[in-house]
Amino acid sequence: MKIKITNGMYMALIINMVYAKSIGVTQGSIARDVGSDMWISTIIATVSAMLLILLTVMIIRRMPKADIFDQSKAMLGPWVGKLICLVIFIFFTLSFGPIMVTFVFHLKDFFLPEAPLFLFVFIAVLVGGFAIYFGIEVIARMALIGVFSILLLNGLLILGALEDFDVRELLPVFEFGITKPVIASRHHLADWSIVIMMCLIILPLVDNQKEWGRSSLVGVIFSFIFIVMWPILETGVLTSQVTSQYLIACMQMARSAHLGFFLHRYEMFMIAFFGISILTQIAIALLCGSVALSKLFGLKDFRPLIIPVSLIMGGYGYWVVQSHNHAMDILENSWVSLSLSITLGVVGVVWILGFFLKKKFKSEKG
């Protein structure tokens, strides 16, 4: 029996996949570009992501039972199919860099500054590898819990930060003009690119095919609701200048939030509640990487590749987080350009070629 996930789980996966990095690391990058207009860039990126995800749904609907690997193989032949597998594997390996930046620096900078770097990467890969061994269904179920955690975290943060919120910090709007926030949205769109690539692989496993488009859109909208609160609060409480000084701006935000005397710092709440989101990212990146590699080598099951993929991705992640400057350089430059190129390239090429090779889909379906 082929494993299926419900549309609710699919939406939960979308939310968790984008949340962890977008609320802090990405907002810091955007703040460095457009100051207090970071929430506008977030909106622009989300709108772009909505279009991209609809395009993804359209692509997969052509052959609903086949993921992007099988579809490209059917459409363009085995060798091009393998090339797509390799490209997507590279994409997820690259995505492990920013994911590790989010995971490692949240913990290392704010809780365990003296702990060896290796330990963080090892535990991330261990937990992620353990999760993917049980398949997508288990990760999706965890993601459902993750949505409730996100709700709790957001609620707590609003309660703890509203006292210091100053709406005037959001002004002036479009301080750097209109073009700059659009360009700055690339940071957040890079976060969405991981979600888009994930959808290309897991969408055939989603139960209700008729609702794919709606579920995807609802997932993106809910993600936006959960995320956009952060740039607004970060600007209103921390100010955009302070936000831009930090690599992990959300932790700084959590540090300044407080509820009475005994809940004087939120860092632990932050880690506790956003933990599922970041671990979902880790697990999905490992899963998609393993699936891509298994298709590349023509294996029926991805599980034998969990350890090799974990070593490759873990190694790359370790290399990225070796120093803050190195991590920031990759995060804001090479990752953004590479991720967007690959995502737009794969989605665009497969979508356009699909119009010319309609007969192949029909013959595969038949």
Binding site: F111, R141, M268, G275
Partner: protein, 574 residues
């Protein structure tokens, strides 16, 4: 095939002496096996022999069976005489002589021997190739008592016993429905333990019943001494610390589970009945939740959820905060903890582990020792050792509070299997937190969470209905909704239709005379009106009467007066 098996598998001989010898050879060296010879009151005077095991039979039943066989009325005896042939003598006795309600005919020695060992009485008769098995199960049994491990404040006080028939009867007493099924099978090549699989036809999913039976039939073991033998062999996750099969001593809990579309497995000689499938949340819910007001039920359920979180995480969080992340503790509290730890020579992790182990030790000792001594152990352990350890500077007062809080919280978890699971998984979490701080805690917690999410219980996700999220089943998860609101059965039931059709209760509407209470009040009002009308009528009649009397009296007085005046006038004239 061994010699014993060969003997067991052979058919009964027509010669009673041969049969007796075989049975004697099979049951030799058994002081508790009783052999009783008798003669039938028919013309041939056939010899018969009864075999039974003393102690597991009801002697009265055996004596009644013997009486039937030896002193039955001549009419019945004649009937046996006329209807029986050599081949159906046993059957004829069964029909015409025996009063035993569940006597059955046995064709092989195997059936007879099994009957003897199960507590029945096996009877063989000369010139008959069939024997008779009289139901004689009895012996000493524990009476129905309040369950030891699952007590409730409000609710039934009866608990299961070691006798499977009593246990099934306790459930049948609660569900008097023709669809309640109790299927039987026997497990254990040596113990031949009776197992009953119970479910409600139409409510339970057929595939679930089939799966349960299939798993039970796969069991090959020499003995089943307790239901855990079965539990371990039918579990979905055999290596998991989480229990995926619910066990209970409470018949009401089993009845409730059956009504939700689950399957109960009764095992003879144990008061613990298994219920499948089981969700994680079932282990944190008590019968009280449903017997008290829904608000109270929800509140105590939340108390238990909080107790579960405290029991699992508090020692780990304390250790990670005091060892690695002191800045997260509010300053005043941090200073208090630090002053308490000033003289402690050990690291917090070591201190916590020692205290946890001592606590487990005390709990175990208190449980194993005879009751009066057990209580003394608990008191000595908690008061004297705890106090002395703090004064000696071995453990900090804060750690004592943490361990005590953890212990109390674990006691409030209603199912002891779940309580043991939590105790078990607390230790890796503690060690991970003590060695790697928050990173270790998160890592270990997520490993446990992923494991819990991945396991299933008879096809049902262990963490359902939380994840996968089942909106309809949320009415009995975090909040125990009122009964009038729980209209449907849980999703695991096959018949997921209406469970009850009651509406939310409300006081009677004054404008609406449809309701029964309104009718009653209307009737009462009309009665009152009738009464008052009658009273009014009576009063007016009385008034009229009195007026009439008054008028008559006045007339009479006037007449009297006139008469007196006339008399006076006549006297004056005279």
């Amino acid at each position: 095939m061994s010699n014993v098996e060969q003997k067991m598998n052979q058919n009964l001989s027509r010669n009673i002496d041969t049969n007796v010898k075989v049975i004697q050879s099979l049951l030799k060296q058994n002081d508790d096996v009783v052999e009783r010879t008798f003669y039938l009151p028919n013309q041939q005077g056939n010899k018969g022999t009864l075999f039974y095991v003393e102690g597991i039979v009801d002697t009265d039943k055996i004596e009644r069976a013997l009486k039937d066989l030896m002193y039955t009325s001549s009419a019945n005896s004649n009937a046996v005489q006329t209807t029986s042939t050599e081949s159906n003598l046993a059957m004829s006795i069964q029909t015409h002589m025996s009063h035993n309600s569940s006597v059955k005919v046995a064709n092989t020695l195997q059936e007879g021997i099994n009957g003897i060992l199960l507590g029945d009485c096996f009877c063989i008769i000369d010139q008959s190739e069939q024997g008779l098995i009289f139901s004689g199960k009895g012996g000493e049994k524990r009476s129905v008592e309040e369950p030891m491990a699952e007590q409730v404040v409000r609710g039934p006080r009866d608990g299961f016993t070691e006798d499977i028939r009593t246990n099934t009867a306790l459930v049948r007493r609660r569900i008097r429905d023709v669809h309640l099924k109790v299927e039987g099978l026997e497990l254990g090549t040596k113990t031949k333990t009776t197992i009953n699989v119970s479910y409600i036809n139409g409510i339970v999913k057929e595939s679930l019943v089939e799966e349960v039976k299939q798993r039970l039939n796969k069991i090959e073991i020499d003995g089943i001494l307790e239901s855990n033998y079965i539990e371990e062999m039918i579990r979905d996750a055999p290596y998991s610390p989480f229990s995926t099969v619910l066990n209970t001593e409470r018949p009401d809990k089993v009845a409730a589970a059956l009504l939700e579309g689950r399957v109960a497995i009764f095992v003879d000689n144990t008061p613990f009945v298994l219920v499948v499938p089981a969700h994680f949340w079932d282990f944190l819910q008590a019968s009280d939740d449903y017997y008290l007001n829904f608000l109270t039920g929800t509140f105590i359920r939340w108390v238990r959820y909080i107790a579960f979180i405290i029991s699992l995480t508090i020692p780990s969080i304390y250790v990670l905060l005091t060892s690695f992340h002191q800045e997260m503790i509010p300053t005043a509290l941090a200073l208090t903890i630090a002053s308490g730890r000033e003289v402690i020579p050990f690291p917090v992790l070591f201190e916590a582990l020692v205290m946890e182990i001592i606590f487990e030790l005390m709990r175990e000792a208190g449980l194993r020792m005879p009751k009066p001594i057990g209580q003394a152990v608990s008191i000595v352990g908690s008061l004297i050792i705890g106090q002395a350890a703090v004064q000696a500077g071995i453990v900090s007062p804060f750690m004592v509070i943490i361990v005590a809080l953890t212990g109390i919280s674990s006691f409030s978890i209603p199912n002891f299997s779940a309580s043991y699971s939590i105790r078990l998984i607390r230790f890796p979490l503690l060690i991970a937190s003590g060695t790697l701080g928050l990173l270790g805690f998160i890592g270990m917690f997520f490993l446990l969470a992923i494991h819990a999410v991945s396991i299933r219980s008879f096809g049902e996700s262990y963490l359902a209905p939380a994840t996968p999220f089942k909106p309809k089943d949320q009415k009995d998860l975090l909040i125990r909704f009122p009964w009038w609101h729980m209209k449907n059965r849980p999703e695991l039931a096959a018949d997921n239709g209406i469970r009850e059709a009651n509406e939310k209760p409300a006081p009677p509407d004054k404008g609406n005379s449809e309701t029964a209470s309104n009718k009653i009040s209307d009737e009462m009002n009309s009665d009152a009106n009738t009464t008052s009308t009658a009273n009014k009528k009576d009063a007016s009649v009385q008034r009229k009467k009195s007026k009439r009397i008054k008028r008559k009296t006045v007339k009479l007085k006037d007449l009297m007066k006139d008469k007196n005046d006339e008399d006076q006038k006549s006297q004056d004239n005279e």
